[in-house]
Amino acid sequence: MSSTTVIELANDITNAFAEITRIGPSMLPLRQAGLDRFKRSGFPTTNEEDWRFTSLKPFTEIPFEIMTDSGEQLLDQAILDEIAFSQHDTDNLVFIDGHFSDQLSQISDQPEGVTVSNLASAFDIIDNKIGLLSGKDENPLIALNDAFFTDGAWIHIPANHSLSKPVHLVFLSTAKKDGQASHSRNLIIAESNAKGTIIESHISLGHAAASTNVVTESQLEDGSNLEHIKLQDQSPQSIHLASLHSNLGKEARYAFHSFALGAQLSRNNLRMNLAKPGIDCMLNGLYMTRGSQLADHHMIVNHAAPHCDSHEYFNGILYDQSRGVFHGRILVQPEAQKTDAKQTNKNLILSEEATVNTKPQLEIYADDVKCTHGATIGELDKDAIFYLRARGLDTKAAQQMLMHGFTGEIVDRIQHNAIREELNELVWSRLENEHNLN
């Protein structure tokens, strides 16, 4: 059984902390600093600008328990065969409630020098690298993660190397009790001209109001090229809190795709630092919510060097009383001339009660830049439906085609063919089955 330690929020997390600190003693200074910071700040509230539209109350009002152990024993391989991407040839790192499962993971012949492993097995080598990119962020959830993270992925691609196949990070939650919390931590380093594809899946097996708090740091050095696909498909009771901190070197290319399909409440903080010239950074996302779900993407793209492109494309489909939040802050520093920053957020609202808060925020301190943003919130385009019907498609087929197109705009940006196809099918079957399109 999972052993858990009951704690009151920001109150008595001491026992759990003592237990966690046994994982990797070299992490103690980071953990202690995180704990202290969290104790000072507590959870963010809607009084703070960055959390105005997203209340953590569903999470903070229930008893909080750190999952100091893994529910691995409850699982067998068959479960893994059912999850998305399992039929593809990938290397898999499987984490259960934040704990690495050696048994369920599978890492094959990656090229010499490439590391694909769990973070805890490498604490002694990389302890000085954890927190380098996330450390300055004030977000209390990072402090909480610093204090309590158990494990996560450690991917290191040396200069001029490529991952021989995509690496699939599988985060499974077995939580059975409301308030159970797991904390994961990923570190990805792509050295100069390194290449790779990483998939990150978050899935829950139970139906408890349990939380996942994941922090990912990715360092992309000069000329590296990373495609990172995140699928958050947790149970509709779950709380999913994530933050990605990336630092990009000269001419690096980073394509990050976020598919937020599950969870009661999901929040993705994306913090991209475009440190050197010639970078191409794309943040591409789709959220589909129903019931009382809330999906929030909150990003800050910092253009700190000239001649960089950043593109943010987020589409949302919202049913019932669900909510979508998009906050896109683009910061163009004085030295970042010839910046090309583009941001679009389109929302398809399929119920009168669904709402979207979309907030672009451009702060431009350079004069020779191209920055555009656009947001739409609306129903399916009536003119488009008539156009399709005038070509012989019935109303339902026309609606389906438009919705498929709407999700396809996002899915089609995935470069990896097999992954794109699988996500296309997954998104589409979700629309058909869960939303009764057929």
Binding site: F386, Y387, R391, G392, T395, M401, L402, G408
Partner: protein, 248 residues
Amino acid sequence: MLEIKNLKARIEEKEILKGINLSVNNGEVHAIMGPNGSGKSTLASVLAGREGYDITDGEVFLRGNDILELSPEERAREGVFLAFQYPVEIPGVNSTYFLRSAVNQVRKHRGEEELDAMNFLKLVKAKMKELELAEEFLKRPVNAGFSGGEKKRNEILQMTMLNPSLAVLDETDSGLDIDALRIVADGVNRIKNQNNAQIVITHYQRLLDYIVPDFVHVLYDGRIIKSGDKTLAHDLEEKGYDWLIKNA
């Protein structure tokens, strides 16, 4: 083929069509001309079944069947095709997927075999060549980012693929240069036969040099105020509409 009797339509309480009578036989081409705001696009939309119009009077028969009660898709399957004055951009919807779905819907309705991906591609590529449309259009979303001329040629491509019995072309020539105009006109002339008919809405006589109409009608303020043969288009080109409007 088509029989319009005393058709009256309103939009938001405003009467736009004030009693249209028009009869189109198999194998005929009819041109409809008239100043902006006369109701030409409204007539085209009402024929295609767009919602939002109040049909207050009149009847429309297609091959003897009243079509006013039919949905837009039923009319399309029965062989009505509207080439839109402003084709709609549909981001994310792949052109091939769209066109094949449309073609197969219509074929199914006609009791014809549906086209598989291979045969469809063969057919569509041949037609695209005739219309001088690059094959890469098939990979792009429907009309998204197309130039004005490309959109119009795409309408003609769809018409060609759907092979309608009644095609209504709403200002398909507007904004086209002379080469594109000829391509579009050739496209219309190629589908023309003794079992179908075309209604061509235009402002310009020059299109009618390529698509030669059997009849020319002037629509003004919701009514056809004058009908004639192709020489009427030349008169209009020379004298404008004023002389007709004054008499109307």
